[in-house]
């Protein structure tokens, strides 16, 4: 029974990791190409979730909702890139932090204005309801497995996009020298809008997928945003590979910590105390891991650039 539980928790960790990867990939891409730190990325996640919930409840189709989440997040992303973000590329990080902090206030309050303070709920689509038997005698939710699969597909797709396509070539060129590719005739401001919208769409997708597991509400993006920051700091800012590795590390360490620490502590102290202390320590665990990794590799595991 313990093996089945362990496998289940590992899969949960992987699912969290995959979801964090969708967030972190966009963040790290935007930082790598434009040198921008975007706090409003969590709001795009929230927008994806709301778009999916609203469209799914209006049409009855989760799949239409999923498409709506991509369109809405990419659309809002492109809009704020053109209206605000574009003015921030030449500014220092402090201005970027504050302007995107202001965007969070605007988008969160705007969402509360439109949709109210009560959470919305999304149903798991019929096709993906049910559970899959696990080796060792347990069962696992099919939908969570599907999220893991989506994450793997996106990771492969991003790799192919960046390594094999013309757009990817331009993105890589933009990372190494933006003036040079502008001089070669690439429309750099359109490229930036496309990259930002792509990152936004990934965040929106993550929000929609997770929306069916939790409730959809204002502020849902913020805890995820901060975990995604931990991910890209661990992985190395600007590196997609680093984001993938970092996301899996954070997802698995966080989930396994919450699962194992209380029972480990129970070996040495009374059970009630072990649960409390274990839960408190587990909530800090990923930050300890991050500090340890940074103590040895100050620019992350896969530092893309100095």
């Amino acid at each position: 029974m313990f093996t089945a539980l362990l496998i289940e928790q590992l899969l949960n960790g992987l699912q969290l990791g995959v979801m964090l990867f969708l967030m972190a990939a966009g963040l790290t891409l935007i930082f790598g190409v434009m040198g921008l730190i975007n706090l409003a990325h969590g709001s795009l996640y929230m927008i994806g979730a709301f778009a999916c919930a609203v469209v799914a409840s209006a049409t009855g189709s989760f799949w239409l909702g999923l498409i709506a989440s991509l369109v809405a997040a990419a659309g809002v992303g492109a809009l704020i890139e053109v209206a605000v973000i574009r003015r921030l590329y030449d500014r220092d990080h402090l201005d970027q932090v504050l302007a995107t902090f202001a965007l969070i206030l605007i988008l969160s309050e705007g969402a509360r204005w439109l949709f109210g303070s009560f959470p919305l709920y999304l149903d798991i689509p019929k096709l993906l309801q049910g559970a899959v038997p696990l080796p060792g005698g347990g069962q696992y939710q099919l939908y969570r497995l599907a999220i893991i699969a989506v994450g793997i597909v996106v990771a492969v797709g991003l790799y192919l996009l960046i390594a094999r396509t013309r757009l990817g070539m331009r993105i890589r060129a933009g990372e190494s020298d933006r003036e040079m590719i502008a001089a070669l005739g690439v429309d750099i401001s359109t490229l930036y809008t496309v990259v930002f919208a792509l990152g936004a769409a990934l965040a929106g997708l993550a929000g929609a997928l997770v929306g069916a597991l939790q409730s959809v509400q204002v502020g849902m993006g913020e805890p995820v945003l901060i975990l995604a920051f931990v991910v890209i700091v661990i992985g190395g800012i600007g590196s997609i590979k680093g984001a993938l590795v970092g996301a899996v590390i954070v997802g698995v360490v966080d989930t396994m910590g919450r699962f194992l620490l209380p029972s480990l502590l129970a070996l040495t102290m009374p059970a009630a105390q072990a649960t409390t202390i274990g839960a408190a320590l587990a909530s800090m665990l990923i930050y300890v891991v991050m500090a340890l990794i940074l103590a040895f590799r100050p620019s992350g595991l896969f530092a893309a650039q100095s």
Binding site: I106, A295, S299
Partner: protein, 323 residues
């Protein structure tokens, strides 16, 4: 006297006079509002030391603000329940003692956080300080002994020898005096050899190292001092609200402290004071007009960041000397 000094004196006089008048005409609410301005300004003076002078973009100062608050809350709770803290040490309701503990706790926690975070620069530093603050935030939420998610109430405001702190005006005066002391300290540091080194570390760390001063140590001391001032502000804030909760530790608080400095003017002595005055006024005025005040606050903030660089003091008194 430069124009900036004149504006600074005017701001200080305004901040002192308005609550005195409000108390005189029997409007204690405005005294409390002014106390909020003073305490937030004090927290931002602390951050200004790291951010303005040292160029260290700490996105985690809520951690120190909250720790100061929890120091006040925990000591007061133990004194109230007459339970010893640990090893027979009793709690206390004496403000000066609580302040010392808050300052010490903030400094002791800032030391390892700074030592790890300052190994990195730029955007890494922003995110790591944020992550450490979140770590403490989640710890406070999941640790049930001192209220967990619900926070901790301070039933009776802590005491200060010779003054009745339960009245709004005496408490305002205490906080105002602490703020003035912190501003004097900031001025003293800014003009000292250490302050020059901190500013040199911001402008060019390599050159500072070349003249034989290790920038890491200078930055670390500045970071710890900055955390101590913000921690003290946290203790005052807890006593102001008679409540301390995880929201004081949240990253919104860190963002707000940065906003105060930018609103007022980064690296300027009275920047945090002007920023806190504007922020609390906006909050109060917008909050009175519409429930959706955060939406408009966001728009105003966005406008200021994009179009009015240098903040309020920059607008009024031109370029600062140190740029």
């Amino acid at each position: 006297m430069t124009r900036e000094t004149a504006i600074n004196l005017l701001l200080a006089a305004l901040l002192l006079a308005l609550p005195l008048i409000a108390a005189g005409i029997g409007e204690p609410f405005y005294v409390t509002l002014a106390t909020r301005v003073v305490v937030l300004a004090l927290a931002a003076v602390g951050l200004n030391l790291a951010l303005g002078l040292g160029g260290l973009l700490s996105f985690g100062h809520a951690a120190f603000f909250g720790l100061g608050g929890y120091a006040a809350g925990i000591l007061a709770t133990h004194a109230f329940n007459a339970e010893p803290l640990f090893a027979g040490i009793p709690g206390t309701t004496s403000m000066p003692l609580i302040w010392l503990v808050a300052i010490a706790v903030a400094g002791l926690v800032a030391l390892p956080i700074g030592a790890i975070s300052l190994r990195t620069t730029g955007v890494y530093f922003i995110m790591i300080t944020l992550a450490f603050a979140q770590m403490i935030y989640y710890f406070a939420i999941s640790w049930p002994a001192y209220g967990g998610e619900d926070g901790l109430s301070i039933y009776v405001r802590n005491s200060f020898p010779g003054l009745n702190t339960a009245q709004p005006l005496p408490y305002f005066l205490i906080c105002f005096a602490v703020l003035i002391a912190a501003l004097l300290l900031f001025r003293l540091i800014e003009g000292s050899r250490f302050g020059s080194a901190v500013q040199a570390a911001r402008q060019n760390g390599v050159r500072l190292a070349a003249v034989g001063i290790p920038p890491f140590r200078i930055r670390l001391v500045a970071f710890v001092l900055s955390a101590m001032i913000t921690g003290l502000a946290g203790a005052l804030y807890a006593d102001l609200n008679r409540f301390v909760g995880p929201s004081m530790l949240s990253w919104h608080m860190s963002g707000e402290l940065m906003v105060l400095i930018i609103l007022g003017g980064k690296g300027r002595l009275f920047g945090p004071v002007a920023g806190a005055m504007i922020f609390v006024c906006l909050e109060y005025v917008l909050g009175g007009i519409t429930e959706r005040w955060q939406f408009f606050l966001g728009l105003i903030l966005l406008g200021i960041v994009l179009f009015a660089r240098g903040g309020f003091l920059g607008l009024l008194s031109g370029k600062p000397r140190h740029v």
